[in-house]
């Protein structure tokens, strides 16, 4: 039997693979098929009946989403079956389906948030009747609680079950279901409990009608009023493609954009709903602490104060870059402080031991995010992708579900939404892995992938863990000429970019822990809030950042910078993929882009940096013409390009493995950075999640 099947669609001969659905074949032939329940990333349900087409000779219209092409038979004379996606027959069928769908739909478009971007609205216009013939009472359905993110108006629901399938298949948390039957069928969570998935917001995008809408965005704007800007997310190190919708100078919502290599079309709840944090707790002008209180100042005053604070001995100055730092700011700050002779610069607030030997392949995810789909074994060391890279976790789950990926994990036991073998808590499990069944399977696997998280690298023996994991990767064949199954899964969007510009301690310089332990006279925090500031003693603290968080509270001088939606900035994701955000709104008040602050400061300090514009700065990063630096190209992951570097064993590993357990990197998924901590929505989610973690006696 041949692998392809011939069809005649709307008079056009076409040949498609046998496993295609008729809907895919029709689209291949250029026909547009309306649908509600069908979604290409979910299983086929076939319950909305909107995708009916005519198959010549068939007694009834065919639901094209549920008809596999290979199952069709040719015409009696042996010619290819004739399909019609247009014409009176099909129009009438769709018209009838649409009329039934609308019988119990409230038609409250004027007060519906989905209005203007609603599948039902659009398709009713295209395929429906002009008016209603239905004169009975419509059914009404009670609205359901689904938590602080998803608002429900269940009367609008057309029972397509996309949300049910998403929760069960993609998110891996079976929380949504359809209860009762027939006219009483309703979509709900179990006894209206809140959704706990980190990906729950995606059901809003999936819902073809206005039944599930965004609760924080409710009644805020109409889609046609919004200014849409394609950008990059910075809530985790994946760098998901997003669309920032803004009205005036406020971000109204954030939606995912399709990027097959990174986030497919999903987005984590943190990335999607963090936007209200962009309008709260903002640093909109410089501040100087006088007599123990911060007072608003202008940039001139602030720079003068900074100059004074930096006029101490260079080895008494320490600089710590935070999780959200963009490449431009890191580069400008690093250039300035190196010019001042400062060696104590570090971009690893948690103290992970990577990036100091300058070998890029040892701190990026060489295997790439999409690469996991080709892997047959995956070993996660000290990382919990469900909270560290929630969308990637869905991809792992997808591969586990459909391609039989075997997953093993070393670190704190956790529910990853898929079955995995738990191999131990700490480095000793890594040492002993060769003796375990999983280790043996790993060695015989075709394409094993080993991923290390910060949790395994932050201990004293971090470097040794990295070295032994790399050794293991080489032993089990995870590193071959066409397969780079080794890498680090970062949690911070700015980390790889900062490491790429070399934001690590120079000769004799102190690392984060040493900088913050009180020995410095002046400490500069570049948005570093997730660090322990209690040991700073009476060091002077200069804080550069966008939000008033822990760092700003301790600061003596505050320089306000722009957040990621307010500037065109470069970020490098965990795969080493260089991407750029776009400016969707203006920076708040007097806040400036990070690099510009240091460019201006360099003037004040008398060490003027050699670039006047962001483009010039990026030109420096890209190097001279013909030179090939990591910043030369946008949007691709190096993958196996660095394979030779991975084949070299690490020589600098000085420490030996201890048996200390790997800790969790992310304690609270919803609260990992200053923007998220400023968000009310995230606070609500976090409170709900922690209430779930602590058992309560009575509900």
């Amino acid at each position: 039997m041949s692998d392809t099947f011939k069809l005649n669609i709307d008079g056009k001969d076409i040949e498609v693979p046998r496993h295609y659905t008729l809907m895919q074949a029709c689209e291949e032939a250029g026909a547009e098929i309306p649908r509600f329940c069908y979604h290409e990333r979910l299983s086929v349900a076939g319950n909305c009946r909107m995708c009916l087409v005519e198959w010549e000779g068939a007694p009834k219209p065919i639901a094209s989403c549920a008809q596999t092409v290979g199952d069709m038979r040719p015409n009696r004379d042996g010619s290819a079956p004739n399909i019609r996606t247009k014409g009176d027959y099909v129009d009438k069928a769709r018209n009838g389906v649409m009329e039934f769908l609308l019988i119990n739909h409230p038609l409250d478009c004027p007060i519906c948030d989905q209005g203007g971007e609603c599948d039902l609205q659009d398709q009713a216009m295209a395929y429906g009747r002009a008016g209603s013939r239905y004169e009975e009472n419509k059914r009404a359905v009670e609205d359901k609680n689904m938590g602080p993110l998803v608002k429900t108006i269940m009367t609008r629901c057309i029972q397509c079950t996309r949300c049910v399938r998403f929760a069960a298949e993609v998110a891996g948390v079976e929380e949504i279901g359809m209860i009762s039957r027939g006219e009483n069928a309703e979509i709900t969570t179990y006894l209206e409990k809140s959704l706990t998935s980190e990906l729950s917001g995606n059901v809003i995008d999936l819902c073809p009608v206005g039944a599930l809408t965004s609760k924080p965005y409710a009644f805020n704007a109409r889609p046609w009023e919004l200014r849409k800007t394609s950008s990059i997310d910075v809530m985790d190190a994946m760098g998901a493609s997003i669309r920032v919708d803004a009205k005036g100078d406020g971000v109204m919502r954030i939606l995912p954009e399709t990027n097959e290599e990174i986030n497919e079309e999903w987005l984590s709840d943190k990335s999607r709903f963090v936007w209200d944090g962009l309008a709260r707790q903002r640093l909109d002008k410089p501040y100087i602490r006088e007599n123990g209180r911060l007072r608003a100042a202008n940039w001139g005053e602030a720079f003068a104060a900074v100059k004074e604070a930096l006029s101490v001995s260079a080895d008494k100055i320490g600089v710590v870059a935070g999780d959200l730092i963009e490449v431009e700011q890191a580069k400008a700050a690093l250039d300035l402080f190196r010019a001042l002779g400062v060696n104590s610069t570090d971009c690893r607030p948690a103290g992970a031991k990577y990036g100091t030997d300058g070998v890029r392949e040892r701190y990026i995810l060489n295997g790439t995010l999409a690469g996991v789909e080709e892997a047959d074994m995956l070993l996660l060391i000290g990382t919990n992708p469900r909270v560290e890279a929630a969308v990637w976790n869905a991809r792992i789950r997808k591969t586990w579900l459909w391609a039989d990926l075997k997953v093993g994990r070393i670190g704190e036991a956790a529910d990853l939404t898929y079955d995995h073998e738990w191999l131990g808590q700490g480095a000793d499990a890594l040492t002993n892995i060769r003796d375990t069944d999983f280790g043996k399977a790993l060695a015989s696997a075709e394409r094993p992938m080993i991923v290390i998280g910060e949790g395994a690298l932050c201990g004293e023996d971090g470097e040794a863990v990295l070295a032994s994991a790399l050794k293991l990767a080489n032993e089990v064949g995870a590193i071959k000429d066409d397969w780079a199954g080794f890498g680090i899964l970062h949690t911070a969007a700015g980390r790889v970019g900062a490491l790429d510009v070399g934001f690590v301690p120079a000769d004799g310089g102190a690392d984060t822990a040493a900088i913050l332990s009180g020995g410095m006279e002046t400490v500069v925090l570049l948005g570093a809030d997730e660090v322990d500031l209690s040991g700073l003693g009476d060091s002077k603290v200069i804080y550069v950042g966008s939000h008033g968080d822990a760092g700003a509270a301790r600061a003596d001088i505050i320089l306000p910078s722009a957040a990621y939606t307010e500037m065109a900035a470069t970020y490098v994701n965990t795969e080493g993929r260089v991407q750029m955000t776009s400016r969707a709104v203006q920076p708040k008040g007097e806040a400036r882009e990070g690099w510009a602050i240091f460019r201006a400061l360099s003037d004040v300090m008398g060490k003027t940096l050699p670039y006047d514009t962001a483009d010039a700065l990026r030109g420096v990063l890209c190097g001279a013409d013909g030179e090939n630096t990591v910043f030369s190209g946008l949007g691709f992951a190096p993958g196996v390009r660095g394979i030779e570097a991975l084949k070299q064993p690490m020589t600098s590993a000085s420490t030996t493995l201890t048996s200390v357990s790997f800790g969790a990197v992310v304690d609270d998924f919803y609260m990992t950075n200053p923007i998220a901590r400023a968000s009310k929505t995230m606070a609500e989610c976090s409170a709900l999640a922690s209430a779930l973690d602590t058992p309560v006696a009575a509900e």
Binding site: M178, S180, R181, T189, Y190, L191
Partner: protein, 365 residues
């Protein structure tokens, strides 16, 4: 159908299956492979409902989900889909009143009025906790319409009066007789048989058939008289205790015509006359049920000793005669018969003696 929701208050916080239910749970779970245990969800919900006074509480549903390692929402979907799972408390006697067309035409509406008067609205439980009722769709007893189901029993052919009497009895804690409430057996005609009573319909005489082709008795009694009743004749006087086969045509064992039987391979076992009290219960041999025993008796085989003495030729002949090649050897009739003839016991005969083998008591297969 009203919206179906758990009565969370009445359900409390806990539920435990009764100890004696565990065996049934194991039975149902045993039907499905380890990775498909969730297939047992409906039987388990049903058992949980039985153990919870006839309704399914939320903790009971969770217990089922936990046992089958299913997400709660998946079990919730099943429990709300099937109306046989009641999510609110019911009375000790829960009446399910059929309201579908045949019952409705035969007066279900007035039964509903009785329920409303005697009990209250659907799913309302009387103060003494004894009674509740709901209307359901067809229960498949239309021939006895109108009818209700009370707990596990059908009460059929109801009238307002008879239904009222039943409810009255249940109210006072008196069991009421289940089944049709008029003079009829099951769904047979009221007052006894009224049609098809002519015996000529059943002896073949009406069709001028002179001989029914496949009666066991044919080979002994040649052509029966046209006037015979079609029932087998009583055999020899020594066999007075022998059961009279009720069915005239006993299927496979007599499909071969008399003529063919004379040409069977092998050798017919010797026959003897045995006094009734000396006959053995051949059913104690595994593989011999009442039907085969009858057939063997026809051949004049009444004791274990006879079977134990069969030669291979005898076995061939009997197998041919009874049309089950290889079975005697497979089931080791001869071996069993030897043991039993010596007064010993086999595993199977013990079970027969203990009355554990229904097929050795009435009909086989």
């Amino acid at each position: 159908m009203a919206l179906r929701r758990f009565d969370l208050e009445a359900g409390g916080d806990t539920f435990a299956f009764k100890p004696e239910t565990e065996e049934k749970i194991a039975f149902w779970r045993g039907k499905y492979p380890a990775e498909k245990q969730r297939s047992a969800v409906i039987p388990l919900l049903w058992l949980a409902q039985k153990d919870n006074d006839g309704w399914l509480s939320e903790p009971a549903m969770r217990e089922v989900a936990d046992r089958l390692e299913m997400p709660y929402i998946r079990v919730y979907e099943v429990a709300t889909f099937y109306t046989m799972f009641r999510l609110q408390p019911v009375g000790k006697y829960h009446i399910q009143l059929c309201g579908t067309t045949p019952c409705q035409l035969r007066g279900a509406e007035s039964l509903k009025d009785v329920c409303k008067k005697e009990i209250g609205n659907p799913m309302y439980v009387t103060d003494d906790g004894r009674l509740s009722w709901e209307e359901v769709e067809c229960l498949g007893a239309c021939v006895n319409a109108p009818m209700v189901q009370i707990n596990d029993d059908y009460y059929e052919d109801l009238t307002e009066d008879s239904f009222q009497k039943i409810i009255g009895k249940l109210k006072n804690g008196v069991e009421a007789q289940a089944g049709p409430q008029v003079d009829r057996i099951n769904s047979a005609p009221e007052g006894g048989t009224a049609t098809l009573t002519d015996p000529a319909l059943f002896d073949g005489s009406r069709n001028e058939v002179s001989r029914l082709p496949s009666l066991v008795e044919d080979k002994e009694a040649d052509a029966p008289d046209a006037s015979s009743s079609g029932k087998p004749e009583e055999s020899a006087p020594t066999n007075t205790k022998r059961e009279v086969p009720e069915k005239s045509n006993t299927g496979k064992t007599t499909l071969i015509s008399n003529k063919e039987k004379e040409e069977l391979a092998g050798e017919r076992p010797e026959t003897v006359e045995v006094a009734a009290e000396e006959q053995d219960d051949l059913k104690r041999i595994k593989g011999i049920g009442p039907k085969n025993e009858g057939a063997l008796n026809e051949l004049g085989i009444f004791t274990f000793k006879q079977i134990a003495a069969w030669t291979p030729e005898n076995v061939d002949w009997v197998e041919d005669y009874m049309s089950f090649p290889g079975r005697i050897e497979r089931e080791d009739w001869i071996g069993q018969a030897k043991t039993l003839a010596e007064g010993g016991e086999t595993e199977f005969s013990k079970r027969v003696d203990a009355g554990d083998v229904p097929s050795s008591q009435d009909d086989e297969d």
